[in-house]
């Protein structure tokens, strides 16, 4: 039996979490969604995910903090950053810290799905 990819969705916009969770579950992923970054970080300490989709600007730890945490661990979890904040600085920071990809809001679901598939394959 084909192994299901496990992904985490982290965005303080509830609509994003809801829709991504629904979409990827339908595509046969195992999905956990969080609107609070601290809770997500705590969860990441307990469980290994293949791909983490995270927003950039959030209260508390932000997307870059999540990225930095994961890269500091001995894991190949891939990080996709989604953000509406279109400044060069955060994009460069994300690339510099080895995010798998940086996707600007608004995005198309199939576009995100393609990236998640690529990232998931890389993580295996």
């Amino acid at each position: 039996m084909k192994k299901q990819y496990e992904i985490m969705v982290l965005d303080d916009e509830e609509i994003v979490c809801e829709n991504l969770e629904k979409y990827f579950k339908k595509k046969d992923f195992i999905v956990e969604a969080f609107t609070e970054s601290q809770k997500a970080l705590d969860r990441l300490k307990e469980k290994k995910f293949d791909v983490v989709i995270t927003d950039l600007k959030m209260a508390g730890p932000d997307g870059i903090d999540v990225l930095v945490y994961l890269k500091s661990q001995d894991t190949d979890t891939q990080v996709i950053i989604i953000t509406g904040y279109a400044d060069m600085e955060s994009r460069l920071a994300a690339e510099y810290k080895n995010a798998f990809s940086y996707l600007l809001k608004p995005f198309k679901m199939d576009e995100l799905e393609r990236l998640v598939m690529k990232a998931a394959k890389k993580s295996r």
């Binding site: 303080d12 916009e13 609509i15 994003v16 829709n19 991504l20 629904k22 979409y23 339908k26 927003d55 600007k57 959030m58 209260a59 508390g60 989604i82 953000t83 509406g84 904040y85 279109a86 400044d87 600007l104 809001k105 608004p106 995005f107 198309k108 679901m109």
Partner: protein, 499 residues
């Protein structure tokens, strides 16, 4: 001074430079050398005049000594002459004295001639010779004659006396004249010294005045210009004198410096502006992209799986879309408020009423966050002139910020009073976390926020800033990490603003 009319005032540094260089060079160094030389020459002149006076005095002194000598020797001769006529003795001594007098007269001949005149001198000399001759005549007849000798004596005595007196009076007159000459010389020298001092005073006053005008005045003007430049007027310093000197070089260098500062300042302002625009753009993008993304996700979901959803679910999703549209449009509205130019209606307002109505709007928020409010608002403060809704928005923003700065509760002090300029001063003081110094200078910039997504657009303070400025007021912030933050709003009291 040579003031130039504003129409000829050069406006670029190059024009000013050219105008400066066109002027003839009269350096301050030259002026100082000139001043020193003129003082030196003046003192030399006075020295020469004094030297001349002293030499004349000396000459007169010598002449006076000589004539006094002559008079003295003549006195002696007279004594011998008297002895001879009384006792028949000392005739040869008298003759010796006469020859001494004669030689003394010849030594001072030139001075005597110039002093008593050639005629008087010849008369004196002639008298002297006669005197000598008569005495000699007596001397020759002494051994041989008896009664005849007595006769001769009686005959010659008045003549001898006459010549001697003539000589004596001439010499005495000369002495008297010379004495009064010396006296006059001394008094005119005294007067001369005072005249000299007078001229010296005039000259030094002129020189000091000139140097002051060319050193102190330019320095004062430079101070004025520096003040003007410090106030932000970067137009170059124009020439004010008809010539060039060391100050011109200084002013030209300063013009160049001012130009540099101006260019740098413009660059800095431009950089700040670009940073603000960058912030603004990224902020707008964030605030619009999030709702747009939500709309996109819901729409996609609706399109892909429309058959899976019932009527109710569809309605819920459509409502969600509508909410997101509202969210985006409120961002746009806030942005428009921030840049709004049209004038809201103004009226006379009580600041304590505005503050209490704002606090009542926030009552719930204050209670939930464990905030203790200390209200120190004087009820008798004069009214201000403004727009009620706008000012309420300002205090709403400031109090909201204060509440957010105290997530674990704290004390909020709202204090309104008249300041020393008779303006209303409202301080909103929180006991919160404080604002880092590096953020202080940009907190009034649009879309600058430290709050998490959805909680702050970064427009609150910039909108408040715009409103307060529009009310001819000021808004300031003082903050220290750990010691809380004070926002201070100053509003004019009931003065109709200029529009």
């Amino acid at each position: 001074m040579n003031q130039y009319s504003p129409t000829t005032k050069p406006y670029s540094t190059e024009d000013a430079d050219r105008a400066f260089k066109d002027r003839p060079l009269i350096s301050i160094r030259r002026r100082i050398i000139f001043s020193y030389l003129s003082l030196f020459l003046f003192v030399c002149l006075m020295g020469a005049i004094l030297f001349f006076f002293i030499s004349v005095f000396e000459e007169k002194q010598i002449f006076l000594e000589n004539t006094t000598n002559i008079s003295f020797e003549l006195q002696k001769a007279r004594r011998y002459e008297k002895n001879f006529f009384l006792h028949g003795t000392n005739l040869s001594d008298a003759l010796n004295q006469i020859s001494t007098v004669y030689s003394l007269v010849l030594v001072s001949k030139q001075e005597l001639v110039s002093f008593i005149g050639r005629d008087d001198f010849s008369i004196m000399l002639e008298s002297l010779e006669k005197y000598d001759e008569l005495l000699n005549q007596l001397l020759r007849s002494v051994p041989h004659t008896g009664g005849a000798y007595k006769d001769l004596m009686t005959r010659l005595e008045p003549q001898i006396r006459k010549y001697r007196i003539r000589i004596q009076s001439t010499v005495n007159a000369a002495i008297e004249k010379e004495r009064s000459g010396i006296h006059n010389l001394i008094s005119s020298t005294k007067i001369g010294i005072f005249v000299f001092l007078g001229f010296f005073l005039v000259l030094t006053t002129y020189l000091i005045n000139m140097l002051t005008q060319h050193i102190i005045m330019p320095i004062n003007r430079l101070i004025e210009d520096m003040r003007r430049i410090a106030e932000g007027d970067f137009s170059p310093i124009a020439p004010r004198k008809k010539y060039r000197d060391e100050f011109t070089i200084l002013v030209m260098a300063m013009n160049r410096m001012t130009e540099e500062i101006h260019v740098r300042q413009e660059q800095l302002v431009q950089t700040r502006k670009m940073a603000a625009i960058g912030n603004l753009t990224a902020g707008i993008a964030h605030e619009l992209n999030n709702p747009l993304n939500n709309i996109s996700l819901i729409t996609e979901s609706l399109l892909d799986d429309s058959e899976d959803y019932g009527r109710e679910e569809c309605d819920k999703m459509l409502n969600s879309i509508f909410e997101q549209v509202e969210r985006a449009s409120s961002t746009v509205k806030n942005l428009l408020d921030f840049t709004r130019k049209d004038q809201p209606s103004f009226s006379s307002l009580s600041i304590s009423e505005i503050i209490s109505s704002t606090l009542s709007l926030l009552g719930n928020e204050i209670e939930l966050n464990d905030i203790i409010v200390e209200l120190k608002v004087d009820k008798n403060l004069p009214p201000t002139y403004g727009n009620h809704r706008d000012l309420q928005q300002v205090f709403l923003n400031l109090i909201m910020n204060a509440i957010h700065a105290m997530p674990d509760g704290g004390t909020l002090i709202i204090k309104a009073e008249l300041d020393q300029n008779k303006s209303l001063k409202i301080n909103i003081v929180d006991s919160g976390t404080g604002i880092p110094a590096e953020n202080l200078h940009q907190i009034f910039e649009p879309f600058f926020t430290t709050k998490e997504v959805g909680k702050g657009t970064g427009l609150g303070l910039s909108v408040s800033y715009g409103i307060v400025k529009n009310h001819q007021g000021e808004i300031d912030v003082f903050s220290q990490i750990g010691n809380g933050t004070t926002f201070s709003v100053t509003l004019p009291t009931s003065i109709e603003p200029k529009h």
